[in-house]
């Protein structure tokens, strides 16, 4: 496949190679460079100054080295066998690479993304003579215990099925059907197909986003919920908790498939996911979390250009599962490294920079990426969604920098990580003042409805607590001027309740077995208990109770520990605390009646 020479190397500057003498070549064509067959992509087409971006280290590449064209665009292979696999930025399976080159990733290794030997049990759902078009199901393969992989007609194809194989075991390269297209050509269909990663996969229409993606993280679900199909940015300086938050969401959220893209981050974090996920059990299916996870790892020391591609490879795989009618959540850690890869490549191509050296097309690229999220009606007529949660790593933790600012324009949910909270080990360090969710009003009815949160008072409780948190800021300013003693008890009580809410509700320890994730009902009840403590406490103070009395209530200690003392499967424990709280308040009231 590599024998079509399309040109010769003219200049090497890191991962960017200028090519001369271009004969026939296609924009975005996959190419190979030099004798070592380094993988690259043609990103600028010009007879004597075409540019190839190389996805491997270019050490040793010299002028006049040959450049070969592969005759197709950089594409992802989509079919059974992706789930549970870890890929690099250009969808090469890293485990397979390790078998060939041990500890280090050597150059010029070619391995197919999907196993060519493995046989899958295919059950057709179409028959000869059926009229089909792109995105329709040809049948299914049970990929894991819980995942029914729908085999799709590649989008863009249309025609009549000339033949369909019977139920049986097939590799991804065996022909499972033959399509006679409308222009009367014959086309073989397989369990897999290829899709160019930079092109969004088509759907029928966009749907409203009104079902929350439940993450089990209280500050997220209760205060700043994201809808299935929504877009979120998590900006934060180093060590504030972007990776931890994304991993927690990847572990516990109620999506069917997780695509976790490690884009220019640490090797050990990927290893952590690889060792931990297989052992963790998905609470909804009872199966290993790895059985719904696809990993892409292009760590910070791996080639920069593959970082740029990894984001697209990931989102393409996500769209493919959405097209099967699944809810997919994509974590991208970190989109800043991707933007920096764009900057580096752009710099080496000597393009005119805009802000801080980033290319002028940065906002367009960010927009295009987040546009690929959404809740869609698929070509097969089902509903599927892709939620994108992107970490942003602003230099110096300063949110006014270009990547954070442009990202903010294209996302609708913002989980701002706060350095002070992180330093105080208040985790997740999601700021309740700076964060927002534009999905809030859309998901309220889900929280209130019986088959959702089943909590008619959810919105009231949430509003109450948010108001208190905002009041606290003003009160703290007063305290800073005149000391806490100057405040009346009613106001000091607000400070106390806010502290309680932060300790007992917002802080959530990702390492604690019980606290790591909270089911919806636990969140609803915990929130209600704290709001009740506030409302009844405030009444009691009005009738003369003291702050100390309220604080020394025995139930106060129960409330502060309920997050890690009451497991998800023992919600009666929370009802007991609530009952005890009401009783204690009754007694207090009786004293002052």
């Amino acid at each position: 496949m590599n024998d079509r020479i399309i040109g010769q190397v003219k200049r090497v500057n890191g991962p960017v190679i200028e090519v001369m003498g271009i004969t026939d070549a296609e924009m975005f064509e996959l190419v190979r460079v030099g004798e070592e067959n380094l993988i690259g992509e043609l990103i600028k087409l010009e007879t004597d100054a075409a540019v190839v971006q190389v996805y491997e280290d270019t050490t040793g590449i010299a002028p006049f080295d040959p450049v070969y064209g592969a005759g197709m665009q950089l594409s992802a292979e989509l079919g059974p066998g992706m789930v549970g696999t870890i890929y690099d930025g250009i969808q090469r399976p890293l485990e397979a690479i390790r078998e060939m080159s041990e500890i280090y990733i050597k150059r010029g290794i070619t391995v197919p993304s999907l196993d060519r030997e493995k046989k899958w049990h295919f059950v057709p759902s179409v028959k000869e003579g059926d009229q089909v078009s792109g995105g329709m199901f040809l049948g299914t393969v049970r990929e894991t215990e819980n995942l029914l992989h729908k085999i799709l007609v590649p989008p863009g194809d249309k025609g009549v099925l000339e033949s369909v194989t019977g139920e049986g075991d097939y590799t991804v390269e065996d022909v499972i059907a033959v399509l006679k297209t409308d222009d009367l050509k014959e086309k073989n269909l397989y369990l897999m197909h290829r899709w160019p990663i930079r092109v969004q996969r088509p759907t029928r229409s966009r749907l409203a986003l009104d079902i929350p993606l439940i993450t089990g993280q209280r500050v997220i679900d209760t205060l700043f919920p994201v809808a299935k199909g929504g877009t979120v940015a998590i900006p934060g300086g180093f060590g504030t908790g972007k990776t931890m938050t994304q991993q927690a969401v990847a572990k516990w959220c109620d999506a069917d498939i997780i695509v976790y893209i490690g884009c220019g981050e640490r090797g050990n974090e990927i290893t952590d996911v690889l060792t931990e996920f297989p052992k963790l059990i998905d609470p909804r299916t009872g199966r290993s979390l790895m059985e719904r996870t696809i990993l892409i790892a292009n760590t910070s020391n791996m080639p920069v250009s593959a970082r740029e591609a990894g984001i697209y490879a990931g989102i393409t795989m996500a769209e493919y599962f959405r097209d099967q009618g699944y809810d997919v959540a994509v974590m991208a850690d970190s989109t800043s490294r991707w933007a920096e890869a764009l900057r580096e490549l752009s710099g080496r191509m000597e393009e005119m920079p805009a802000e801080e050296g980033f290319p002028a097309y940065l906002p367009t690229k960010i927009a295009e990426f987040y546009e690929r999220a959404g809740s869609m009606e698929t070509l097969n007529g089902d509903n599927g969604s892709v939620t994108i949660i992107g970490a942003v790593s602003p230099p110096g933790g300063d949110f006014s920098e270009p990547v954070t600012q442009h990202t903010k324009r294209f996302i609708r949910c913002f989980w701002a990580l706060d350095r002070h909270l992180a330093n105080a080990r208040h985790y997740p360090a999601i700021s309740w003042l700076e964060s927002y969710s534009e999905y809030l009003s859309d998901v309220v009815s889900w929280w209130e409805s019986a088959d959702g949160g089943a909590s008619p008072e959810w919105l009231c409780d949430r509003t109450e607590i948010m108001e208190l948190l905002h009041k606290e800021v003003r009160l703290q300013q007063v305290v800073k001027l005149v000391g806490p003693d100057a405040l009346p008890d009613t106001q000091r009580f607000i400070l106390e309740v806010c502290t309680l809410f932060k300790n007992a509700f917002l802080q959530q320890n990702a390492y604690d077995k019980i606290d790591a994730f909270s089911i919806v009902q636990k969140q609803v009840k915990m929130l209600h208990i704290i709001v009740t403590y506030y409302k009844r406490g405030a009444e009691a103070i009005k009738s003369g109770a003291t702050l100390v009395k309220l604080r020394k209530m025995k139930v106060y200690q129960d409330i502060i520990r309920m997050k890690f003392s009451i497991p998800n499967d023992d919600l009666a424990g929370l009802d007991k605390i609530e009952a005890r709280l009401e009783r204690s308040m009754d007694q207090l009231e009786a004293l002052h009646a």
Binding site: G60, A297, K480, R561
Partner: protein, 466 residues
């Protein structure tokens, strides 16, 4: 189109005269096709050979970065040879106990280094699936590290310091005292100095000598008066030896690199001369990736016995943690030990700032069976309480201490004891983890029990006020 053999034939050629010399860069034209990052020998008029590598290669010209500097080179008199290979060094276990320059040539007067194993100094990216997640607790004997920012074998944990702060003392103390409990494996130390003064190098040498470990240390020195460009290769040379010791010789290696800020400045210098578009503070946009290439070379590998733990030291310009060098380092390393000038001023050693310091690998290396069951909650509670102390101190500085509540006063007492008894210790004091944890409980017991939300009732029962 040149194939492999023609390439190596051509690489024997020597070019006399160069077109342009700009800082550490030499431009040569009309060469044979030269490979990117190839090793280059530049010979000056006196016949001295200086090494360099190819930064850019095109049909017109080759840009060479000369590590030993270009001073004294002339346009017509410089001879250039391209080797056809990337820069490699010969590595062996015998390098321990010796002193080298940044390129790995001995400067201790001893015999030249010989070995059959030649490795590319740039290394290669470790396949993430080959990594072993680090979990082994290293006892450094320093409470604020062991108790609250635990160092794990295979971790990269930098010290963010400032000019004149005792980072060298702390690094030397860690190198001296570091041990894995229950084993008697010794750490081999690979030390890379970039642009630091002679007395810093002497301080480390002396400290290793005094503790009798010098034969277990390899030093790579590229000091302040050496060509600044040599600093770019020094950490790579050192890490190449570290990788050899760890993954071919089964050794546990501690890599100390100082000062990363000097390294980054050299990188900026090259970038500026090449006219690249800078990102922040004139540093090149690829500073993050470049640092990652160094830092990510530490770790552990499945099926291999050895490990690389690294302790890079960097001085924060103006003590500013948001400066690109500490900032980008923090985005790559697995936590950071941050020094605070104000604590140093109060005579606290080590002046480790309680809040911004962090060890990310701590969680899997502490607790039952590793340190002690109470460790995770104790550490978390100490952080929470100390963070409240900081708030109270801020408040007190505005409204005065008299206005504080009695509880806040108790917190101030706790804060003082914590800094003076727990954090502060002698430069030769080697505390066991039990001593550290017990001391933690001792200072924590100053606080009333219902302030301790992060600790379970059983732990309170067992350790509080004991």
């Amino acid at each position: 189109m040149p194939d492999k053999t023609t390439k190596s034939l051509l690489s024997g050629r020597e070019y006399i005269g160069v077109d342009k010399i700009d800082g550490p860069l030499v431009f040569v034209s009309k060469t044979h096709p030269v490979g990117y990052r190839e090793l280059v020998e530049c010979v000056d008029k006196q016949g001295h050979v200086r090494l360099g590598i190819v930064l850019e290669s095109s049909t017109n010209a080759v840009v060479v970065q000369v590590f030993e500097g270009t001073s004294g080179l002339t346009l017509p008199g410089t001879r250039v040879r391209f080797s056809g290979e990337p820069l490699t060094i010969a590595v062996s276990k015998e390098m321990l106990g010796r002193v080298f320059n940044g390129l790995g040539h001995p400067i201790d007067g001893g015999p030249p280094q010989r070995s059959d194993i030649e490795l590319d100094v740039n290394g290669m990216a470790i396949n993430p699936t080959a990594r072993q997640y680090p979990r082994d607790f290293i006892q450094t004997g320093i409470s604020v590290i062991d108790g609250m920012n635990t160092l794990i074998r295979g971790q990269k944990l930098p010290i963010f310091s400032g000019n004149g702060l005792p980072h060298n003392e702390l690094a030397a103390q860690i190198a001296r005292q570091a041990k894995i409990r229950g084993t008697n494996t010794q750490f081999a130390v690979v030390f890379a100095a970039m642009g630091v003064k002679h007395d810093v190098a002497r301080f480390f040498t002396q400290s290793f000598e005094e503790s009798g470990v010098l034969e277990n240390v390899a030093l790579f020195l590229s000091l302040a008066d050496d060509p600044s460009i040599e600093r770019l290769i020094t950490p790579r040379t050192a890490l190449t030896l570290a990788e050899h010791l760890a993954f071919n010789e089964d050794m546990h290696v501690l890599v100390i690199m100082t000062d990363m800020t000097n390294y980054c400045e050299s990188l900026r210098e090259i970038s500026t001369i090449r006219g690249e578009i800078p990102s922040r503070k004139g540093y090149p946009g690829y500073l993050y990736s470049d640092l990652a290439e160094l830092y990510e070379r530490s770790g552990m590998i499945k099926g291999y016995k050895g490990s690389i733990t690294s302790l890079p030291i960097l001085t924060m310009p103006n003590d500013d943690i948001s400066h690109p060098v500490p900032d980008l380092s923090g985005y790559i390393t697995e936590g950071q030990i941050v020094f605070e000038r104000e604590m140093d001023g109060r005579g606290i050693y080590p002046p480790v700032a309680g809040l911004p310091s962090l060890s990310r690998l701590m969680k899997d290396g502490i607790g039952e069976g590793m340190t002690r069951e109470d460790h995770p909650h104790l550490a978390s509670q100490l952080f929470a309480a100390y963070s409240y102390v900081k708030d109270v101190r801020n408040l007190a500085s505005v409204i005065g201490e008299e206005e504080l509540t009695p509880l806040d006063h108790t917190y101030l007492d706790f804060g003082r004891e914590f800094e003076q008894r727990y954090v502060s210790q002698r430069k030769d004091e080697d505390r066991s983890i039990e001593e550290t944890l017990d001391l933690g409980w001792e200072v924590l017991s100053i606080l009333p029990v219902d302030e301790l939300h992060r600790i379970t009732e059983e732990e309170i029962e067992k350790f509080y006020g004991k």
